[in-house]
């Protein structure tokens, strides 16, 4: 039995960052909005309180705030010919659940993409020639340019109160900021965070090598901040418990700390937690999603919620799942190259870091903010360096810093140290406070054989197929990782450490066990061509004009940058198109 509810003006699937932003913009435009969140309601006051918010085992290791793999996971195979198996325990990536979504337990790294990341394919073809891009690299342009999106990046940074320092203010390059970034109209809303010892060492080494060190933009408040919504965030305590944790000080930007207070106070918004959206009710003829069906997880009862507009703001995998199940768009086929749904799934080429050890320096890794609390360089990011003859495209941001010193997971020891016993104890005690890592986050460019579809065997708790990921690293990724590893080694040596590890080389298959990044992207990509993309530049589905898809599932490929800044900017960009154009004039915003 499905209970059919009274129609609402709009429904948001998922109440994380994008769901909250869209709900806020639509209610401000006068619409009645229901927010359906599969998980529980979580508030900073109740759920992120001292002292239990600092429980490393509960949050970082047993993963309390993440999606419960017992109920829902994805399956993986490395090539289209293999049988996929479910990822039974989350490891490589950690999607969120519950009100706030992953926005409650992220680190706070808030980038803008480089202008050349926005028009990637055209840029690479212009600079290196029409035939420079290998056929298997199915990279595309974002249909929205950096300049078009700049005001929306700005708006999201102001909502979050991002701490940082501009490196390109209206075209003027500023030393100490990121001189490679696209022109910004405004300085960051909050000044940079305090400097860590690791950051100071990195800055010196990078300058000596002629690079351009800068402070990574952080949604961790260097000082208390009141955002344009009138919500005040507290100052960061440098507790070293950002990633995987909520913030008791409301000093890390999250839906809870930035926007939910005003949204929940608005009568036009109704939050329904424990409401697990099961399927979209799609009218193929009318090209509309008429309703969404969801299960109340407290009772098991099923509801159908008709809605005038549907905002799909779940995580990448559920965005794909719901559209694939409803058949909104054609499933991508790697053999023919036809179909757009599931195409260009990308990840992040990370994990090739170098750990440096200093006998005479105290690092205090436990005093840290989450967002790469140190110093970055972008000299080897995107197309900021000449790729002629390198055999790969793209790059990585490189950072040295400390995000935490929680010892269950952070205990660096020099290479060659045994993993246990007396020698392990000695080395651990000796080096814990004298080491940090230089890390890199590499872009991951779309590959013809990397894609998402539905698993034929394994199912989730609602009886739906799992999303099946066909994914592996390919030549571009391995070469990129090798090259960046070389740079990391060079920086490490310039620091003149007592000991250092060798740059980790990326070889072999993608491994789901060690954490790498929760930057899964693609499958419902945005583009200018309805044949090769799923949503248009306003994130409106080509095949359902009242369906708007949020989040990193719309990325055509993954830049090196953590996706949240772009996700937030695109959410505001789409929200404006809906409120200023679509509400008055429903229908496709771009003619296909």
């Amino acid at each position: 039995m499905t209970t059919v509810l009274k129609e609402v003006d709009a429904v948001c699937i998922g109440v994380g960052f994008t769901g909250s932003i869209l709900a806020r913009e639509l209610t401000k435009a006068g619409l009645k909005v229901a927010g359906l969140e599969r998980g529980a309601n979580r508030t900073s006051r109740e759920d992120f309180a001292l002292p239990s918010v600092r429980d490393d085992l509960r949050y970082a290791v047993r993963q309390e705030l993440f999606q419960d793999a017992q109920l829902e996971t994805v399956s993986l195979r490395h090539t289209p010919g293999e049988t996929a198996l479910p990822i039974r325990r989350l490891g490589s990536f950690l999607p969120g659940t519950g009100v706030g979504g992953a926005g409650a337990h992220w680190n706070g790294v808030t980038w803008r993409l480089l202008p050349t990341d926005h028009n990637l394919r055209s840029h690479v073809e212009n600079r290196y020639g029409k035939n420079a891009i290998p056929a298997e690299l199915t990279i595309e342009d974002f249909p929205v340019s950096y300049d078009e999106l700049e005001p929306y990046y700005d708006r999201f940074e102001k909502l979050l109160g991002v701490s940082g320092k501009a490196g390109n203010l209206r075209g003027q390059k500023i030393d100490g900021g990121n001189v490679f970034e696209g022109p910004r109209q405004n300085e960051y809303p909050n000044k940079p965070l305090a400097m860590s010892m690791a950051g100071a060492i990195m800055e010196k080494a990078a300058r000596e090598l002629g690079y351009h060190p800068f402070r990574a933009p952080a949604a961790n408040m260097s000082s208390a901040y009141t955002n344009p919504e009138g919500v005040t965030l507290g100052a960061c305590e440098y507790c070293g418990h950002c990633e995987r944790f909520g913030c008791e000080a409301n000093a890390k930007s999250s839906p809870q700390s930035c926007i939910l207070p005003v949204l929940l106070a608005d009568d036009r918004f109704e939050l329904r937690a424990h409401s697990y959206v099961k399927e979209l009710v799609y009218d193929r003829q009318g090209k509309k999603v008429k309703a969404v069906r969801y299960v109340d997880t407290r009772s098991g009862e099923e509801y159908e919620q008709p809605a005038g507009r549907v905002i799909l703001g779940a995580y990448v995998f559920n965005n794909n799942l719901l559209m694939m199940q409803a058949g909104i768009g054609e499933q991508y086929d790697p053999v023919t190259g036809k179909g757009a749904l599931g195409r260009n799934y990308c990840y992040q080429v990370s994990g090739n870091n170098v750990t440096v050890f200093f006998e005479d320096k105290i690092i205090n890794p436990f005093m840290a903010a989450g967002a790469s609390f140190g110093m970055n360089i972008d000299d080897f990011n995107g197309d900021n360096f000449d790729h002629s003859g390198l055999g790969f495209f793209g790059g990585a941001w490189i950072s040295a810093g400390t995000s935490n010193g929680r010892p269950i997971q952070t205990r660096p020891v020099p290479p060659g140290t045994p993993r246990w016993g007396r020698e392990w104890k000695k080395a651990t005690a000796r080096w814990y406070n004298h080491a940090f890592s230089i890390g890199a986050s590499g872009c991951n460019y779309a590959h013809r054989e990397n894609y998402l579809d539905l698993d034929p065997t394994y199912r989730d708790a609602l009886g739906r197929p799992l999303v099946r990921m066909t994914y592996n690293f390919h030549e571009n990724d391995y070469k990129l990782a090798d090259y960046i590893g070389g740079v990391l080694g060079k920086i490490a040596r310039a620091m003149n450490p007592t000991a250092m590890s060798s740059p980790a080389v990326r070889r072999g298959n993608y491994n789901v066990v060690p954490y790498q990044s929760t930057h899964n992207t693609g499958g419902t990509m945005t583009g200018a061509n309805p044949k090769t993309s799923v949503v248009n530049r306003y994130l409106q589905a080509w095949e359902a004009d009242n369906l708007f898809v949020m989040g990193a599932s719309v990325f055509p490929q993954n830049a090196s940058y953590n996706p949240t800044g772009l996700v937030g900017a695109l959410a505001y960009y789409a929200a404006e198109a809906i409120t200023t154009r679509y509400i008055k004039n429903p229908g496709p915003l771009v003619r296909g």
């Binding site: 239990s52 085992l57 400097m195 960061c236 440098y238 005093m367 010892p407 246990w420 104890k425 066990v513």
Partner: protein, 237 residues
């Protein structure tokens, strides 16, 4: 041959008095571990009642965590720090019962990059792993793991770590990795879970624990050793 007529658990209890002083008197000298006969009983002051481990399993865990974390000037032994208690409680609770673990079949053999693919929950996995480890040491040394000398335990554990001890079903390396992971959790997690007793793990590395509010300290202690004693969740309860 091991005298199976001595019930292990009773045997442990009888020996506790002698070692309890060691645990409370602070870090034991390095020689204490090596000179002591290697019986699990004498390295374990762990008198906590068991929730799920059998006496044999507990003896194995005590011996294993004391080999991974031997007593020395840096900390008491793993079991003296409550790590065996921690493991017993974790395996008895939600984690042991398979929380957050997708358990729908089929369960075919898989390459290691696809992660854990067995139908066993962690409690069942440790049961099987301990059984296999003891069977292997009985075959190799004529004794259960906990009855081995300190040196033999180290050699045996290294073979298990390297995947050189043939286990039925899954590799001994996989078992060792899980054992090492849960041991480290028990040594470094907040003491509310029964391990990291007296914050011994935190003291060993200099981790200050809670409340971790460093807005001023981050400037004061730039490049300087943070000298305040650690505190844990219970100190704020």
């Amino acid at each position: 041959m091991v005298d199976e007529t001595i019930p292990r658990r009773g045997f442990l209890k009888g020996a506790i008095v002698g070692t309890a002083a060691l645990a409370t008197a602070g870090p034991a000298p390095a020689e204490a571990q090596t000179t002591a006969s290697a019986s699990a009983a004498q390295t374990s002051p762990d008198a906590e009642p068991l929730l799920t481990l059998t006496a044999t399993e507990h003896a194995f865990i005590v011996a294993a965590v004391d080999t991974i974390i031997p007593a020395d000037e840096l900390s008491p032994s793993g079991s003296a720090c409550g790590v065996a208690t921690f493991i017993d409680r974790q395996l008895a609770g939600a984690y042991g019962m398979g929380a957050r673990l997708y358990r729908q079949g089929p369960f075919p053999k898989a390459k290691p990059e696809l992660g854990y693919q067995l139908s066993l929950n962690p409690r069942e996995f440790f049961r099987a792993g301990i059984e296999s480890a003891n069977a292997w040491t009985r075959k190799t040394y004529g004794k259960d793991f906990d009855r081995l000398s300190v040196t033999e335990r180290e050699t045996a554990l290294r073979a298990i770590e390297d995947g050189k001890a043939p286990f039925p079903g899954f590799s001994s390396r996989m078992f060792f990795d899980a054992l090492l992971q849960i041991t480290m959790e028990g040594f470094f997690a907040d003491p509310i879970y029964g391990g990291n007793r007296d914050m011994a793990g935190w003291k060993m590395v200099g981790y200050p624990g809670l409340p971790a509010t460093y807005r001023e300290d981050i400037k004061t202690y730039f490049g300087k050793k943070y000298d305040k004693p650690p505190r844990s969740i219970a100190d704020f309860a």
